[in-house]
Every structure is written in C-alpha cells, then in structure tokens.
C-alpha cells in the first residue's frame, strides 16, 4: 500500500496540536483509523501528549463519522475533533 492521507484537526484539538491539517504517508501497517492514530502518536510527541489527555475524540473519514475501526485508504481525509457543539 502506498499514497498519502490528509489528517484534519478541529477546535480544541487543533489548538492543542498547533496545526489544522497535515498530509501523511500511509504505510503498509495502516489499514484503519486506529492504526493511523497509533502510528502518528509514535511519530509525533505533540500528538502523543494531546491524545493521551482525557476527553472524548470523534473521528470522520471522508466527512462521514466513523470510529477507530473505520478503514483508511490512500487519498482519504481523516478528521479528529471534540464532540460537536453546534446550535
């Protein structure tokens, strides 16, 4: 497997991480959101710190809500954010 995925961070997550998006290579080990997040936490200390903090995180893949088991493919847009507070 090859190619990249785009990762987006919103709201408090974005502020704590210090960026709103990044493009990352998809390695052969990554087939789900859970795989991708684990790999990024190993690679990036800031991500490790932020995701280690208590607090619920939501994920969307290609703008549809998912969870850690949702598959990730090259070209996907994976977004992490806190519970939504619209209205």
């Amino acid at each position: 497997m090859s190619g990249t995925a785009t990762i987006l961070y919103f709201a408090a997550l974005r502020e704590r991480i210090g960026r709103g998006s990044e493009t990352v290579p998809l390695t052969a080990d990554v087939s789900t959101v859970g795989d991708l997040l684990a790999e990024r936490r190993r690679q990036d200390e800031t991500l490790e710190d932020v995701f280690a903090q208590p607090g619920r995180v939501r994920v969307a893949v290609n703008r549809v809500l998912g969870d850690l088991s949702t598959p990730v493919h090259a070209g996907d847009e994976v977004a992490f954010f806190p519970p939504m507070t619209g209205g």
Binding site: F10, R14, A60, A79, M84, T85, G86, G87
Partner: protein, 156 residues
C-alpha cells in the same frame, strides 16, 4: 425520481458568517405551495451572562453542509414537510446575535412544530460545529458538549 430531484428547492442548508433574515426565509417557504398550513421556526441566539462577550463558531467546511443536508432530508421525509431550511452562522458572534435558524413548513401545525424541535435538537450534536466562549476578563474556553443535548438528540 431521486431524493435530490424530489426535494429540489424545498430543502435549503447554508453555513455562513453573514446574518440571516427570518422574514425573507419565511416568505420563501410560504411561496412553495398552496398546501402549506403552518410554518414553524426556531432561532438560536448568543445568550449573555457570566461575563460572556462573544462566541467563536468553528466548523468543518464541507462535512458541515453534508451533515445538515442529511439531517434536513431526514426531517423532510419523517414529518412529511413541504419545505425546510437550516442556516448556521460561523465566525465570531456577539451576545444577542442570532446563531442558527431552522424553519419547517407543513400542511398541519404538529408536523411543522415537531420537525423544528427535531432539527434543532439533532443539529446541536450532529453537525461539526464547535463553540469557544470569550469572556470580559479575556478568558477563552471551548464549550463542552452537554449530556442533556446528547440525550435530547438521542430522544428522536
């Protein structure tokens, strides 16, 4: 007939920083057809208190419009609506400014009222918006999602 063709012009979803015009949006639904017996609406407003100055509304462009459209289509078919409109503002909004407007037009009043309630309850936790609060003392805090909002959304 596809869902989109069936609801063409009958469902409107917008995410914008500009203010909206309740009178204009009501008139648009009123003009859809003769069979409308009632139009119900809810407008959410930045509520003052505890030194709040403004809300900063962040959203996920694209996913936001998608989520609101899915929600509006669900309300449309579930409550047999004639039309419905969802407008959500983003950016910095001062105390007293409108944030969100939901309108539902139906043949009978109960359907319009129930659809409005459904839309605003589900929108609170079902579309990717996040609010940060700005206070007079300069503090800035992200609003936590409220368990009662999640319960209200799940109640439908």
């Amino acid at each position: 007939m596809t869902g989109a063709a069936h609801t063409a012009g009958r469902i409107q979803v917008r995410v914008q920083s500009d203010p909206f015009d309740v009178g204009h949006e009501t008139a648009r639904l009123l003009g859809l057809e003769d069979g409308t017996g009632g139009i119900s609406s809810f407008m959410g407003i930045v509520r003052g208190g505890n030194g709040l100055v403004a809300l900063e509304l962040e959203h996920y462009p694209g996913m936001c419009e998608d989520a609101l459209t899915v929600l509006a289509e669900e309300a449309f078919s579930r409550f047999a609506l004639i039309g419905c409109t969802v407008i959500h503002r983003v950016g910095r909004l001062l105390v007293g400014e409108p944030i969100v407007l939901v309108l539902a037009a139906a043949a009978h009043r109960a359907a319009a009222l129930d659809a409005t309630h459904f839309l605003i309850d589900r929108l609170k936790t079902g579309a990717p918006f996040w609010k940060a609060e700005e206070f007079t003392d300069g503090q800035r805090l992200w609003v936590e999602s409220r368990s009662e909002d999640e319960a209200a959304a799940a109640g439908w």
